[in-house]
């Protein structure tokens, strides 16, 4: 039987941040779906599940608060762990993120290793063997 690869969804309109996630996930047994457009991510998540979602806060179109609220409104994402990754290092934002169901709140800049640890913590992803 082939093991299912956990699906990680990343929402951040920063190309550099997306590159950091891709670097973090390389070598992990996971599938990464990345979205620089929050509205496109919501279209995808409306009809697709995810094992873990990373979202930024300050984004064009829809901010991360809008993402969290929309996810809360969908039954199939009630239990999806969401991790906020943002430059906003404010207590009020941490509280708001927790109220909206975010499991973790990471302040940019984050190291690849920190992202990897979060992925492994919430998905049980394994590190792929290097041949």
């Amino acid at each position: 039987m082939t093991a299912r690869r956990p699906k990680i969804v990343v929402i951040d309109d920063s190309a550099a941040a997306i590159a950091l996630y891709q670097r973090s996930a390389s070598g992990l047994f996971v599938d990464l779906e990345v979205f620089q457009s929050p509205s496109e991510s919501l279209k995808y998540l409306e009809s697709n599940g995810a094992d873990l979602i990373f979202t930024g806060i300050i984004m064009r179109e829809t901010d991360g608060w809008g993402i969290l609220k929309r996810l809360n409104s969908w039954a199939h994402h009630q239990k999806t762990p969401v991790v906020v990754v943002t430059s906003k290092n404010y207590a009020q934002d941490r509280t708001l993120a927790a109220q909206l169901g975010a499991r973790e709140y990471l302040v940019k800049p984050v190291r690849s290793q920190e992202i990897r640890e979060v992925i492994c913590k919430y998905t049980g992803a394994e590190i792929l063997k290097q041949d």
């Binding site: 920063s14 550099a16 950091l20 300050i58 901010d63 430059s87 404010y90 207590a91 708001l96 800049p109």
Partner: protein, 304 residues
Amino acid sequence: MSSNYVRFWGVRGSYPAPFSTHMRVGGNTPCVEVRLGSRVLIFDAGTGAIALGNELMKQSEIRELNIILTHYHWDHISSLPYFVPAFTPGWKINIFGPGDEPADLESRLAAQMKAPFFPVETETWLADVSYHTPHPEPIRIGNLSISSFTVHHPGITYGYRLEVNGKSIVYAPDNELSFIDRSIEERKEEFDQDEQTLLDDMKQEDKSRNIEFMTDVHMLIHDAQYTPEDYVRKRGWGHSCFIDTVESAMDAGVKQLFMFSHDPNNDDDQIEAMHRKTQELISERGSSMVCHVSREGMLIDLDE
């Protein structure tokens, strides 16, 4: 003066500063009126809006107001319990502010007018008050469109942009510029070479994003609260160092910058010294940007 103008009723950040040493600049908290003929837009309802409300009560032609709130920190809403038009029958007041639905705005504003904090509740408002969300669709008032954007300040906070007579105005009273830039510098040693390359890209992106909302704006009213020395101690409080504001505005091609949300700890002399420093920076870069200190009572004609 034409019938189209911007008037500053409150320019002070955080809390009122009614001190004799602060009166050349003014002590009231944020409130900026944009008057377009008989149309009245009131950006934020800090203590400056009390005098504006009293002024509006002296005339009889206008009976409809639009109050556009950036967020619900006290310095931006604390005039509402004393805003006389709200307590007067015959007025129509449209209030815009962050929230998912109108009931969110209503409950947040009502929360500051409850016992034991205040003797009367919003139920005593006799005006026709309605609540509206400004996001994601722009605010539409007649043929006017006012767009919102998320800024770097605690909680859900917006800045606003509108076009009047071919001139763009941006109001962003509370916005901490260049935050991630310094966060990266603080932790840079922890990152490997590949990560540092990505972080350099991230800094460039952040710099572009910082100025995106102010690009080529005719009139930028922006947070310029701290001196560099103060900012070292108050980084992460949600306000900008004025040097970052001036540099970003020049990068963005802003025509006129209005330094706003003055620190209540800074008296007139200190703010004027900050302004002199901006003149040096502008001169050094050979920029044509004009930089003003926002002062209470200042009027800017939009037809000139």
